[in-house]
Amino acid sequence: MTGAFASLTAGRLGLITAGVVLAALFPLVYHDPYYMTIIVTAEIVLILNISWNFVLGMAGVWNFAQLAIYALGAYGSGWLMLHQTWIPVPVAIVLGGLFAAVVSVLLAFPTLRLFGIYTSLLTFAFAQVVQYVALNNPRNLTGGSYGYPSVPGLFPHLGQTAYLRAYYWVCAGVIVASCLAVAWLRQSHLGIALRSIRDAPAYTAARGVNPRAARVAAFGLSGFLAGIAGGLYLSFEQSFTTNQMGLTPMSIDVTMLVIGGIGTVTGPLIGTAILTVIHTQLINYPGWEFTVLGIILLVIVIFVPGGLVGLISRADRRVRSWVAEGADAEA
C-alpha cells in the first residue's frame, strides 16, 4: 500500500486514526436526537459529495446529473425493499447502488463525444428528465411529489437512540471506506489516467491511455457510491421526495465541494461539515441562507479556488519551508 499513503507521515496517520476513533466514540456520549439526525443526514450528504467529487473534481467531468443518480439509487433500493422482501435490506441498498452505477455508465457514453460544456448540458438535461418523470410517478415507482412510501429500512426495530447510533456508524463506515477507496484510486492507474485526462487531454491520448474507459469507469464508480447514498437516505429518513434532486440541494452540494476544495480527498469532509453548521444556524431564514450561500460560493471560487483544503496545504507548505529555512540557517 505504498502509493496512496506515501504522503502520510506518522504524525498525520496518528491524527487521522485519532480522529476516526473519536468520531466512532462520539455517539456513545452525545444523545440529542435533533442534532444527531442532522449529523446522520450530513453523513449521507457527505457520501454523495464524495461520489460527486470523484467524477467532477478528480475526473474533471462536468457531470451535473449526480443527484438524479443518487435518486435512482434510492428508488431502486426502495423498490427492492418493498417488493422483494426476501432480499436483506443491506443487499438491497448495494443493489440500488449497482442500478445507479449502470445508469451512470449508460449516461457516460454520450458524453464521450461531447465538448466539455455540452456534457454539463447533457447531464443537466438528463437530471431534469429524471426529476420530471419521477414527479409524475409512473406506475407508482417513485411516489411523486409526496415522496416514496415507508420502507423496511436497515434497522426497523431499534429505539430512537439506538437507531440514530446504528445509522451513524454505518454511514461513518461507508465514509471511511470510500475515502480510503478514493485515496487509493487516486494513485492507481485509473486515478492517474483520470487526472492526466483532466489536466492535459491531448498528451494523454498520445500516451496511449484509454480516456473513454477511464471516464466510463469514473461514472460507474461514482454512480455506485451515489446510489448507495440514496438507498441509505431512503432507509434512514423513511422518505425520498423529488426535491432531493432539485436545484436547491444541487447548489448546496456544489458549494460544499467548492468550499472544501474540488478534487481533493478531504475537501468534501470539510465542505460538508462547514455548510451543515451554517445550514443549522440559518435554517429559519431560507432567504438569508441562500443569499449567504451565493456569496460564499462566489468568494471562494474567485479568491480561494483550491478551497479550504488548498488553503491549508498552502499554509502548511509555507510553514514547513519556513521551518526548513530556519534549520538551514542554523546548520
Binding site: G60, W62, P110, R113, L114, F115, G116, I117, Y118, S120, L121, L122, F124, A125, F126, Q128, V129, Y132, V133, N136, L247, S251, V254, V258, P286, G287, W288, E289, F290, T291, L293, G294, I295, L297, L298, V301, I302, P305
Partner: protein
C-alpha cells in the same frame, strides 16, 4: 384547422419568449465562452421592475420597458465584473468555463434570494403592456400583449443583428468572438467589452422579463424556468451561433405548442429535454454549432 391556428399562434408567442431569453446567452457564449447561469435571474428582475414600475407607480409601459432594460444592463455589467472578470486569464479554458458556470450560478442564487428576502415568496401581478385580445379564428385568440411581445422581440433581435453588423462596437464584439488574440492586437479593449456584452445580454433578458411577468407573474423563482428554456434553445441552436439560436427558439416554440395541444402541458418539458438528449447524442454540437468556429 383550429388546432393548427392555435399551434402556430402559440408557437410564435413561445418562440419570441425563447428568443429574447436565449439570445443573450448566445451572445455571452460567443464572446466570453461561458454559460451565463444568471440570465434567468435577469428575467426575474425584469419582471419585478415591470411590476414595480407599472403596478405600484403607475409608470407607463414603454417607460417601464426602458427602465427594465437599463436596470438589468447595469446588473449584468456588475455581474460580469464580479463573477467573471476576476477569473479571466487565470486558468485553462476548460476550467474557466466550469468555474464561471458556478460563479454565475452563485450570482443567480444570490439574486433569487435577495428577491425572496425583499419581496417575499409571493407572486406579483405584472400588468400587461397592452390590454385586449385579438380573435384569430374560431375562438382561438392571441392577446395584444403577446403580439407586442412577439413584435418587440423581433425588433430587439434585428436591432442586435444590426448593431453587430454595422457599428464599431458590434464589429469589435464579433472580432473578440472569432479571434481574441487578433482582436487584442488591434487595440480592442476586451476588459471593457466583456462587461458591455454581458450588460447587453442581460438587458435583453430583462425586457423579456417584463413581458413574461404579465404572462406568468413576477416572483423570486420566476427566472428558473426561463433559464432552463434558454439552455434548451441555446444547445439546440449551437452554442455561439446567433442565427442558430433564432431558428432553435422558434423551433422549440413550435415543439412546445405542438406538445401542449396534443399531449397537455405536464409532459412538454420532459419531452423537450429528451429531445435535447437525443439531439446531443446524434449531433454533439447542436443543430448548427461547431466548437472551433464562432459565428457571431
Amino acid at each position: 384547422m383550429t388546432e393548427i391556428v392555435a399551434i402556430i399562434a402559440n408557437a410564435v408567442v413561445y418562440g419570441s419568449i425563447y428568443g429574447l431569453v436565449a439570445i443573450g446567452m448566445t451572445l455571452i457564449y460567443g464572446t466570453l465562452r461561458i454559460l451565463d447561469m444568471s440570465q434567468g435571474s435577469m428575467v426575474m428582475v425584469g419582471g419585478y421592475v415591470g411590476w414595480w414600475a407599472m403596478a405600484t407607480h403607475g409608470i407607463n409601459p414603454a417607460l417601464a420597458l426602458v427602465l427594465a432594460f437599463v436596470f438589468t444592463f447595469g446588473l449584468g455589467t456588475v455581474t460580469e465584473l464580479v463573477s467573471v472578470q476576476p477569473l479571466i486569464g487565470r486558468q485553462k479554458s476548460v476550467d474557466f468555463e466550469m468555474v464561471t458556470f458556478i460563479t454565475t450560478f452563485a450570482v443567480a442564487i444570490f439574486l433569487t434570494n435577495v428577491a425572496l428576502q425583499h419581496f417575499g415568496p409571493f407572486q406579483q401581478n405584472v400588468p400587461s403592456i397592452v390590454g385586449g385580445n385579438l380573435e384569430l379564428y374560431n375562438r382561438v385568440s392571441i392577446s395584444y400583449h403577446e403580439l407586442t411581445m412577439a413584435g418587440i422581440s423581433v425588433v430587439l433581435m434585428s436591432g442586435l443583428g444590426l448593431f453587430l453588423a454595422r457599428t464599431r462596437w458590434g464589429l469589435a464584439i464579433r472580432a473578440v468572438a472569432q479571434d481574441l488574440d487578433a482582436a487584442r492586437s488591434l487595440a480592442v479593449p476586451v476588459t471593457r467589452l466583456y462587461p458591455l456584452t454581458m450588460g447587453l445580454a442581460s438587458a435583453l433578458a430583462g425586457v423579456g422579463g417584463v413581458f413574461l411577468g404579465a404572462l406568468y407573474f413576477a416572483s423570486p423563482t420566476a427566472g428558473d424556468l426561463p433559464l432552463l428554456q434558454a439552455l434548451i434553445v441555446v444547445v439546440l441552436g449551437g452554442l455561439g451561433s446567433l442565427s442558430g439560436t433564432l431558428y432553435a427558439a422558434y423551433l422549440v416554440g413550435l415543439m412546445q405548442a405542438f406538445c401542449e395541444v396534443e399531449f397537455g402541458t405536464t409532459w412538454t418539458l420532459p419531452i423537450l429535454y429528451t429531445a435535447i438528449l437525443v439531439i446531443l447524442i446524434v449531433r454533439p454540437n447542436g443543430l448548427k454549432g461547431s466548437p472551433s468556429e464562432a459565428r457571431l
